[in-house]
């Protein structure tokens, strides 16, 4: 059975990671056609018209990003694939690269052609060591087949690409921090502007695109913008892979047309909640976005609908929180993550994430004060928009969202010095054994 209309259509084909299998399904045909017949500008125009937006979290229009790369420049240009996949709740790129590495390679060469870059890097998070081996193998095979090298498919287009393994730092998923890390510095973000399209890697024009974004490119150039727009909405075109986690019956990656109601994804694709559980909240776009309460599950999974509901589609990491989970504890967990991952460059983020964790820890353990909820809101407000990169915002937004939608649960913690739900019940304690039956 097909798992999705586009990127997941053939994802489970046995041996798809091998070059011959990928080619047998029409792989690299688009590349041959583009290099022979399509100018770089034409490729940019098609991607612009398709409405493709960045799938890593920010949702910036891909074609527009490409068009910012200066055409008259003597500097080398770079294409960087962001495969750092570090937003908690997100695990789509890992499956895509593991099962269909050549689609990513074709997408990278096509995108490099469009911006006329001769070198590409794939920045993988450190834990993806085995993915690096899969990609390196695929790159070697592509090189042997003349798809990478001094003359791509016999044309004058020269293209080299390398994989680069990070070493455990969430911040390196942020594009300017990623570039610092790739250059060989500590992975700390840089102030924008200048934007990477003008001054990126080695101060040269650079496009950084997410893995899923790049994997859409061969499909779009093969079938055209209008064809791609058969899925999704006017402003959110195409499909999106959503990574669903939490205590649903079938967690995993699902590719759906943008705009699908969140409830349809959870009920029909994921089979609903495990027996005896109900949904309390859903984080729709990775742990950095505000949650939606159960009353808002009919919200469409597209950029605009999520914004209207006060949250973001983000990276598509859908974390489902059940009614047996204490939200103070869940938020403390999220805040600890951002405290741990703050690179320490900007004071509001470095200090603020620490204090939010401290306050949430004492709330969770029953030592909270009446003023703590207001204090959390105040600290979050003083982080939001006050740091170089989005990590500070990522830490502040869940705090604001959880308190906005679930203030009563926080107040209960202060008044009763314990959780509204009894998280330490025997049933909860044994919950990890449930994995056997999943």
């Amino acid at each position: 059975m097909s798992r999705g209309p586009l990127l997941f259509k053939d994802i489970d084909t046995p041996g798809l990671a091998a070059l011959e299998t990928y080619r047998a399904g029409g792989g690299y045909e688009t590349l041959a056609e583009a290099l022979g017949k399509r100018s770089p500008d034409e490729c940019i125009e098609i991607v612009k018209a398709s409405g493709l937006r960045g799938r890593g979290g920010a949702g910036f229009p891909t074609g527009l990003k490409w068009s910012f790369v200066p055409k008259q420049t003597t500097k080398p240009k770079y294409l960087v694939c962001n495969a750092d996949e570090s937003e908690p709740g997100t695990f789509k790129d890992r499956e895509l690269m593991e099962k269909n590495p050549h689609l990513l390679i074709e997408g990278i060469i096509l995108s490099a052609w469009a911006i006329q870059a001769n070198t590409g890097y794939i920045y993988l998070r450190g834990e993806f060591d085995y993915i690096q081996r899969i990609l390196d193998r695929a790159i070697a095979d592509a090189r042997t087949a003349g798809l990478i090298g001094a003359n791509v498919l016999g044309t004058a287009f020269r293209f080299e690409r390398y994989t680069h393994l990070g070493a455990g730092a969430y911040i390196c998923g942020e594009e300017t921090a990623l570039l610092s890390s790739l250059e060989g510095y500590r992975g700390q973000p840089r102030l924008k502007p200048p934007f990477p399209a003008v001054e990126g890697l080695y101060a040269c024009p650079t496009v950084v695109n997410n893995t899923e974004t790049l994997m859409n490119v061969p499909h779009i150039l093969k079938h055209g913008a209008a064809w791609y727009r058969q899925w999704g909405t006017e402003k959110s075109a195409g499909t999106k892979i959503l990574s669903v986690s939490g205590r649903v019956k079938r967690p995993g990656n699902y590719e759906v047309p943008l705009g699908l109601p969140l409830s349809t994804l959870l009920d029909e694709h994921c089979g609903g909640m495990r027996d005896g559980l109900a949904i309390k909240a859903v984080i729709p776009g990775g742990s950095s976005v505000p949650p939606l309460p159960a009353s808002m599950l009919s919200t469409g999974l597209d950029y605009e609908s999520m914004n209207a509901a006060g949250t973001f589609l983000g990276s598509g990491g859908v974390i489902v929180i059940d009614d047996q989970t204490c939200l103070v504890d869940a938020l403390w967990n999220i805040t600890r993550f951002y405290e741990h991952e703050s690179c320490g460059k900007c004071t509001p983020c470095r200090e603020g994430t620490y204090w939010m964790s401290e306050v949430l820890e004492r709330l969770e353990h029953g030592h909270g004060r009446e003023s703590d909820i207001g204090l959390l809101e105040d600290v979050a407000d003083n982080i939001l928009g006050k740091s170089f990169c989005a990590l500070g915002d990522a830490a502040a937004m869940p705090v604001q969202g959880f308190i906005q939608h679930f203030r009563a649960e926080f107040e209960y913690h202060v008044a009763h010095r314990r959780c509204m739900v009894n998280r330490r019940s025997a049933e909860i304690e044994s919950r990890w054994g449930e994995a056997v039956r999943a």
Binding site: A169, G184, G187, Y202, G246, H340
Partner: protein, 169 residues
């Protein structure tokens, strides 16, 4: 009389790359227009060779990259995956972030603690296991999960963890 001041670092004999690793190092250097950009790949090569980044290994990496040693130390400490102290043969890194926590990561971790008799950041006396809490591993749909070294183990339950410990000698 006070003991002579001999730092462990200066006492360690200088390291050299074994031939096979030297080839890997040269390959890594060829990927970038700037020599220092190979710092992460070369730190990884050192860790693969020696299991951890010892002061002597750090010095070798710095020499290879033609960078000052403190500069490389600053980079190595920025990232969480480089072991700046020796670790056990099997490095168990348990994801504690939200999705895994919802699936019982706390229980998984306490099970490992009591089974191995060690806590976070500790190594068993026989040098077999090091246990560590880590943040999100991008395996949220397979929670609770852990990485043993760089290998993923997902959808864990008590029986699976026990079988895994048995397998890792």
């Amino acid at each position: 009389m006070s003991a002579p001041v001999v730092s462990i670092e200066s006492a360690a004999p200088p390291l050299e790359w074994p031939a096979a690793r030297r080839a890997e190092v040269d390959d890594a250097l060829s990927h970038y227009p700037l020599r220092r950009s190979a710092v992460l790949p070369i730190l990884w090569i050192a860790q693969r060779e020696w299991g951890w980044i010892s002061p002597a290994a750090l010095r070798l990496v710095a020499r290879t990259l033609e960078l000052p040693e403190p500069e490389v130390f600053g980079i190595a400490t920025f990232y969480t995956m480089f072991n700046l102290k020796p670790i056990g043969r099997h490095h168990l890194q348990v994801c504690m972030t939200l999705s895994c926590s919802l699936m019982g990561a706390d229980r998984l971790f306490s099970h490992l603690e009591s089974k191995l008799g060690i806590g976070h950041g500790e190594t068993t006396p026989d040098g077999r296991f090091t246990l560590r809490r880590v943040e999100c591993l991008a395996a949220c749909g397979g929670g609770p999960c852990l990485q043993a070294g760089l290998e993923y183990h997902e959808h864990l339950d008590e029986a699976k963890v026990d079988a895994l410990l048995e397998k890792l000698k």
